[in-house]
Symmetry: C2
Subunit: 157 residues, 2 copies
């Protein structure tokens, strides 16, 4: 997904799941969990493409057997900020020299969450019960994941 | 981790966890879950380096606050084959044209698991209760994961 000729500035790991729970606020349920990390050089410009790609990918099987996206299901979303995804293995340690600053990361993460919320709200009726939940940036949090796959996808932007 | 000048031939996502359970055989408990995918061009040559890197990385905090590897803890390991990690996003679908053949993948996956078992057995006494569990290649299986991070790491070889 990253444009040719430049290194990716954002990395996402998407895990399809039956349920996901993050203990930060009252627990929510989700059908997709996304782990997000952005790098220096990432700007707001990449966010609409990231969100559009992630939410429109046809990764789930509907009841009729057709492949549909999380927007088409519609399903719920749990977004987890994940600084460790930016690590590079050096000897026996992971180094994070290329991670974005906390201030920029926090801002981009907030915009990413807001865009996901707007996209899902636009297609999902209140009756569908879908929701977007997200972890808080920079905090340790307890994640529980139930999958029936598992299906783990890596996407870089 | 991949050598310069060539594309990675193996991709691993490592998730540190308190417990992981995979419903294939009687469930096991693990402190690290590894999602593994190998590509055409991968040969047995890369396996010792992969296993050594993954098991010796100091990612866990010991009781005394020192960073230690899963071998040093010692912790348990759950290995999950994960063909979807080899996908490339094309339009609204994931394509898997670059995935390894089932026969080669199965063989390499088996060797990877055997190497992990040998490494962990060499350091962990029977009394420590650590174990290596693994999913079966090519099957859908139900994964449950409990983390206290979460800490998700990507490593390519």
């Amino acid at each position: 997904m990253a444009e040719q000729g430049r290194a990716p500035v954002a990395r996402t790991v998407l895990q399809q799941c039956l349920r996901a729970r993050l203990q930060v606020k009252p627990a929510g349920e989700a059908s997709d969990a996304e782990f997000v990390q952005v790098r220096p050089g990432a700007t707001d410009d990449i966010l609409p493409k990231m969100v559009s790609t992630l939410l429109n990918l046809r990764l789930s099987e509907s009841d009729s057997g057709k492949m549909v996206s999380v927007l088409e299901l519609p399903g719920s979303l749990l977004i987890v900020p994940q600084a460790t995804l930016g690590g590079k293995c050096k000897g026996r340690a992971m180094q994070y020299h290329h991670n974005i600053s906390k201030e920029d990361g926090l801002r981009l993460y907030g915009s990413f969450v807001a865009l996901c919320e707007a996209e899902l709200t636009a297609v999902a009726s209140a009756a569908s019960g879908t929701q977007v939940k997200h972890g808080t940036y920079g905090n340790r949090q307890v994640l529980t994941l139930d999958t029936n796959g598992p299906y783990t996808h890596l996407m870089e932007f």
